[in-house]
Symmetry: C2
Subunit: 233 residues, 2 copies
DNA sequence: GCGGATCTCGTACAGTGTTCGAGTACACTC
DNA sequence: GAGTGTACTCGAACACTGTACGAGATCCGC
């Protein structure tokens, strides 16, 4: 083992807490709050320092750099995901509940969507979720590599469905459109594609929220059906 | 129609080209090149200007701001995705080919993964792809909302599988690890979760590339199975 | 009281996106 | 050719950003 030394947030000991608002935990908590309110671009070390009544550079005593802080905040998100015990209900209900939980958590912390593509989730909470979901698929009857393939498939579906949903939401927010204005915008963009326009002009836009949940459920059920089939053979 | 005026990159006429290296198209092309080489963080207006032997702020004549430039570059990525004609082969092969194409394109332009969660794909090329895939699912036999649900499900799967893959790749690249060092890192992170370690220590890591493709295919087949079942009822 | 460790933070640097306005170059009319 | 207007370039400046550095402060054990 003479290779490069492995260093990571998750290995290095955090500094001990002294006063309130000065421990690594407090900093991460404040960062998450700020991210929830102002998004990824709204978090700056100076502003975060101000929020904690501290100098901007004081934070660097507890945290190596901003990326590391984001890694810590990201893992905090994983802590909110609930993996039901597959023993009590069937694995399908269990997987379904996990999927919905993941979606809700990401929607609650939209900035985390940007991190999914930037840093692997290696924090303790993420690992806990991975461990429990793995146990879940194992209990479902998957074996060998299929355990992890099924696992990856489920989380991929949730991520892939939710991440663009967030792009949609933030685009609406930034431009200040409501749902109707947004629809008009995409209609303009879809000009020349009659098929797409047919979809956009469907009279199903009364409740876009419910609509998206229907879509999510459709895909989720399909995907679980597919996994179940895999299980039968 | 007295509401806010809709403005977007896709509506406003681009400036006409004059010299080489000065049209909007040339700028976008150079931006894509730069993004491919240096990633999202490696693109700055000043560096892009220098690459085109232009002042940094000259670009603002052709492009409103950096976000708009990214939107244009993003759409260029969509142009590379190929949607096979479902008439020649079955819809399953067609969907499968599309999925693989999308994955490859995103892996080729890893920076696009970050944009999926930031801006909806409303450019002409993205719309073209959406239109063709919609036709594909229609031809497959889906009707009404199910057309778009199935469509969303497929792209969600591809995105969700590919985006974390990119996070993995860039993390390896930035820290300068090879596959083995990375595996050691996650093993360290997974300490205390015997189940996870069992997976990590499997002797299947000879070719991580092939491994990921196996995983992708497993999920893809499952997901298409699930959609097919939807079709039967 | 005296180290030594722990912790704070002002200053500074290199970089960012973007605005503004002055300047240039070219095409077209008289 | 002179004049005029439009298309285009870009240097300077502004308000930010993350972070390295090092000087000071505070506290604890002796």
């Amino acid at each position: 083992m003479t290779g490069k030394q492995f260093t990571s947030v998750w290995i290095r000991e955090p500094r001990k807490a002294t006063g309130p608002g000065r421990s690594r935990q407090e900093i991460v908590r404040a960062a998450v709050e700020m991210l929830d309110e102002q998004g990824l671009g709204g978090l700056s070390m100076r502003k975060l320092g101000a929020k904690l009544s501290a100098g901007a550079t004081s934070l660097y005593w507890y945290v190596a750099n901003k990326d590391e802080l984001l890694e810590l905040a990201y893992d905090e998100v994983w802590a909110e995901m609930t993996v039901p015990d597959p023993g009590r209900v069937g694995w399908r209900d269990s997987a379904s509940a996990l999927a919905h939980s993941m979606r809700q958590v990401i929607l609650r912390h939209p900035w985390s969507a940007d991190l999914i593509g930037s840093m692997p989730a290696l924090g303790p909470h993420a690992m806990g979720v991975a461990d429990r979901t793995r146990k879940m698929f194992k209990a479902a009857g998957f074996t060998g590599l299929d355990i992890d393939f099924a696992n990856a498939t489920l989380t991929a579906y949730v991520f892939g469905m939710t991440i663009p949903e967030i792009a949609w939401n933030t685009a609406m927010g930034e431009r200040g459109y409501d749902a109707d204005e947004m629809r008009a915008a995409v209609a303009r963009a879809a000009a020349g594609h009659p098929d797409l326009l047919e979809r956009i002009n469907m009279d199903t836009h009364d409740d876009p929220q419910a609509m998206r949940e229907m879509c999510f459920d459709f895909g989720l059920v399909s995907m679980l059906d597919g996994l179940e089939r895999r299980l039968a053979t």
